[in-house]
Symmetry: C2
Subunit: 393 residues, 2 copies
Amino acid sequence: MHQPHVVGAGMTRFAAHDRPLAELFGEAAVSALDDASLGTDAIEAFYLGNAMGGQIENASHLAPQLASHIGLAGIPCQRFEDACATSSNAFKHAVQAVESGRHDAVLVGGVERCTPETGLDTAEMTTQFATAMHELYEQPVGLSFPGVFGLLTDRHMHEYGTTEEQLAEVAVKNHFHGSLNPDAQHGREITVEEVLDSPVVASPFRLYDCCPFSDGASAVVVANESVAETARDQGADEPIAVQGVGHATDVVPIADKVDPGATQAARDAAEQAYDAAGIGPGDVDVVELHDCFTGAEILATEALGFFEAGEGGPAAAEGRTRLGGELPVNPSGGLKAKGHPIGATGTAQIVELVTQLRGAAGERQVEDAQVGLAHNLGGDTATTLVSVLEAGA
Amino acid sequence: MHQPHVVGAGMTRFAAHDRPLAELFGEAAVSALDDASLGTDAIEAFYLGNAMGGQIENASHLAPQLASHIGLAGIPCQRFEDACATSSNAFKHAVQAVESGRHDAVLVGGVERCTPETGLDTAEMTTQFATAMHELYEQPVGLSFPGVFGLLTDRHMHEYGTTEEQLAEVAVKNHFHGSLNPDAQHGREITVEEVLDSPVVASPFRLYDCCPFSDGASAVVVANESVAETARDQGADEPIAVQGVGHATDVVPIADKVDPGATQAARDAAEQAYDAAGIGPGDVDVVELHDCFTGAEILATEALGFFEAGEGGPAAAEGRTRLGGELPVNPSGGLKAKGHPIGATGTAQIVELVTQLRGAAGERQVEDAQVGLAHNLGGDTATTLVSVLEAGA
């Protein structure tokens, strides 16, 4: 068994991009290779996350095409799709391939375009996103993702007294964090009042409770100890150890889940990741989690074991998850402010953790960050991956 | 390192199916589990191949949904997409997961619907298939897959004197084989004259040179020695050892390939698979290969090392690749007669090899088959996987 490390990380700005997928991904990939001080000859396989290129841009079978664009054609290239958890799944497989000795170094990343630059407007894109819900039981009744997470959050409010103001505080925090991140789509700070005055999208969510449509790409190089040492020798920044990746699923459709609000896959994936890393929630210093909606962040902070049931809302409102608080959550701005180009989101979380664990996050640096956790979910909370990274290991 | 085996195999008939993807896949999966004499509790992960569910049926993020349908929700589930090589890639990852000890037993399979039962007609479906070609350099000039393989075959005819009659002989052979396979879409024998009289689709291919649009599903259980022994004890048929899986890619678009007709990815993947299995082409007893078009079979028999350059056409015409010949190719009927439900094709090749290597193929049984090879390609020959299976190992 080898110890997988992330030896290089790169991403584009998340924003609206009028550029082909290959060019967008190329920017992130070359940036990751540069960061690792490695050439393409060091890369033995390419694991790609792209969720909807076939539907949105008539571009399927993307892995060899993107590989060709960056000079990697020839090696094994494969595309993963698991809705919004797409590139975390690619990352998991890259980590496993390095751990088992199958490959010494793997390029893994994701790319997606979801803004009107694709030619699809908000309603059309919402319809595309909804393909990740059950086509027989969920799509026909008009359920969309704001609806799913709205239902889960409504239940949380009913059970624990979570308030709209607490949801708004999550958005305010993540926009503040995003204002410190030059790669974030939304760099503007907002106020609780602005959130509460914004139009309702799907109760209890208002416009500012929802992450945006985004275009972007992210990539990391996962490698074994030996390549990590070479990278260091060639001038790369500190390699960051991958200590555990958990992956669990839950029943689809959401109506069949035993307790939809539990987001059980998150609990199961977290348990796997904590066990593999030999740590508990209390050991985590910095978190990047899947805040597709403000309520999703509150549910996740509880499912990951950071707060007791019902404490997630008050914790956010009290600033405990803000930069400077006891456990900074989404210092990148999260999906909410950094943006959410579906297939690029999972590895972008890894990019942020690597930056934080290297102490290279500038104004948004989490102090003394040694252990980072990424949480990425797909569909109606059916797929969740949780990864634990550690500096100096 | 563990020795991966296929311990169970199942598929639906390839045909037009007016059934949901989950139900179609469920038939194949339950059949594979039954064949392995294993229950769902033995399965630790689920690797799904589906190429175009999001585009064709508004159904993405399918892995957890299909897992739920067959009682597997909870375990890691992931979808792969690499055009027509989709489920071979899922198979490769399942084999690697078992080999490394990550999982003891993995369910891997594929499902797709491509017939007018989906609501899309032939022209619309051809457009969907073309998303697997380069969206900037190939799609805009109207290149489609009959066109790509037509160009490669035209070149082969020019260089080696391969004839339309030789192409037709491939179709005649595979329809004959299909007539012996109850799961084949086309069970009717055809003649060389019928092929040559059929309308041109993309020169030199006529209608009967082309595989059909198909709906269907296939699944296999990949497991380590210990699970294989349990399966045997519980009454399963002989486990079939997976001795090697090769996976290589080539440059996209096709215009950038050094020698498009070489189908270099097939040569590279075959070399990897032969090396891993410690065999050469001469050791193979039965072959399932990617005959999306008759010319593709001829190119593949050469790229895989069974015949010298230019010998593939004459070999087919002489019956050397027919049942009873020196190396039976596509005894199942191949994509041409068995059918080609994109995401289901790769693991369906494995299903046929397992059936052959167990000596359970009935009328289409290849005599004394001990070593089988599967060849599955995706896109404009950009992705190829080659797998070697062995009985009694």
